[in-house]
């Protein structure tokens, strides 16, 4: 992985603790399996997704809604697959 601010990475890790169990479980796997191989641009996209309210975030992960931004949508595809 190319250099990404390590402090920012740790902040992202903590912000991936959510209010909904389903998201915690999905994101835990995402970090175990996929996060380390993301590019900085992909991490940026993931960071933007983290700003979603939990309920919207879960709807997107569950395929009940989609995100318009192609970079964010690509991350969501990964989350749907883990």
């Amino acid at each position: 992985m190319t250099a990404y601010d390590p402090i920012e990475l740790k902040r992202i890790r903590w912000r991936s603790r959510r209010g909904l169990l389903e998201l915690d479980l999905v994101l835990e796997r995402f970090f175990a399996q996929r996060f380390d191989s993301l590019s900085p641009a992909e991490i940026d996209a993931y960071k933007r997704i983290l700003d979603l309210p939990d309920t919207d975030f879960l709807d997107v992960v569950n395929g009940k809604a989609d995100l318009d931004d192609p970079e964010e949508a690509a991350i969501i595809e990964i989350l749907r697959a883990v």
Partner: protein, 571 residues
Amino acid sequence: MRAALQLSEAGLKTAVLSKVFPTRSHTVAAQGGVSASLGNSEEDHWTWHMYDTVKGSDWLGDQDAIEFMCREAPKVVTELEHYGMPFDRNADGTIYQRPFGGHMSNFGEKPVRRACAAADRTGHAMLHALYQRNVRANTHFFVEWMALDLIRDADGNVQGVIAMEMETSEIVVFQAKATLFATGGAGRIYASSTNAFINTGDGLGMAARAGIPLEDMEFWQFHPTGVAGAGVLITEGVRGEGGILRNSAGERFMERYAPNAKDLASRDVVSRAMVTEINEGRGCGPNKDHVLLDITHLDPEVIMSKLPGIREISIKFAGVDPIKAPIPVVPTCHYQMGGIPTNYHGEVVVDGKPVNGFYAAGECACASVHGANRLGTNSLLDLLVFGKSSANSMIDFIKAQPLELPELATADVERSVARVERLNKQTNGVAVNDARTAMQRTMQAHCGVFRFKDMLAEGVEKILEVEKMVQQTEISDKSSVFNMARIEALELENLIEVAKATMISANARTESRGAHVRDDAPDTPETPNGRDDANWLKHTLWSRDGNRLQYKPVNLQPLTVDTIALKTRSY
């Protein structure tokens, strides 16, 4: 946030500390609604709501607090509406209400529509409405701050908290004239829990370490079928569609426990059968710790059309497609009835007296309105009613205090700092994950939805062993910035207090009541449902110091109406 709003609007300087952004609190998970006898859809009355709550609590709830909550309910829900909560509405513009389990009209006669909801996002909408309103009222939010310990002076008065800023690991004292805990539940003490990872009972751990007893911790609500290892709920509708529970031999074991209703027996019968199978060695998986919910015999078309969400959950969280293989399930912890003992003013009460400057509300508190069993939708109501009432008590208390803050007592601060230091310096210690897994497995196996005398006694020994592991946790990451390992180790130190309180209180209570059901306290004509009012109509108080148990009477005296007399709880 309900309390903070009341305080800020009264012109007080109010700081809210939260581990996560406030609208990402676990309340966001609440979908069902919040109860209030508004009577918008049909006749309803707070006295009926009160009756249902007392009965639901299996008479362990304090009737003064329950009356207060049910009487206040329409007011606090209407206030929330004025704060901008987007409740579902009737054609005439009033709040739409729907029925919810256990809420009845005319003292238990028939279901009544009492739950107010905002689509399936009630908790989310509530958090947002309260957050926005707090911002307007200039509440100061300290986001991503973790409170570590309570500060009490030599006389026991509470002076504030010690907290850690997650971004820097800096430890700071927040001195305050009044301190409120609204830190939520501790469902993560169990291996299978519907609670998000953040529900680590920090407020309970802090209170316990500060010498405050915890009340009625043996009472936890469970749901029979959560995905084993994940906790995500599988609705009971799956059994309605023909789902069959099987043990490791593939046997449809419900035929033995409920020859007529079989897999459609009531929640408690199903949970109890599942636990009995697991305990007798017929559980599935490498740890023999769950059973299987089989729908492979159903037409795939039916599964796709009637249970699509369940198929998704099963694939995602159990790793099995239920069309092809059965789903691993286990009774799953959902809600904590006990907590920090308070009265209905939200004041924390020890030895019959309020602790100066200390308040608690929400799932971490025990007022006690839920007693031995909570009714659905009463917990969001609890947050609103007791959030508000504790803030009103705080305002009165603060006004009576001298303007200047008293001198800070440093003993607790030093103890707290030493606790973090111990963790930072630990070598040859125990991995946090190992200690947490040991705790969760012990709680699930020995103190789950259905309890056995010998298992409980053994569980007490085991959890005290696990405590020793927790005292020696070691983290390899010693860095300062957003150190999740350190945070999780500190959270575990809170969870273990709750786990001990639960196990020890449950072991001692030799009756069955509400959510605490024991094999050796069965349903007999002399003791219906195994409840023993002669000996156990009382609240448990567990103290950390020496794991001491004390008891206090249930308040059967409401504020303005007659006592709701003891009866067998049956629906």
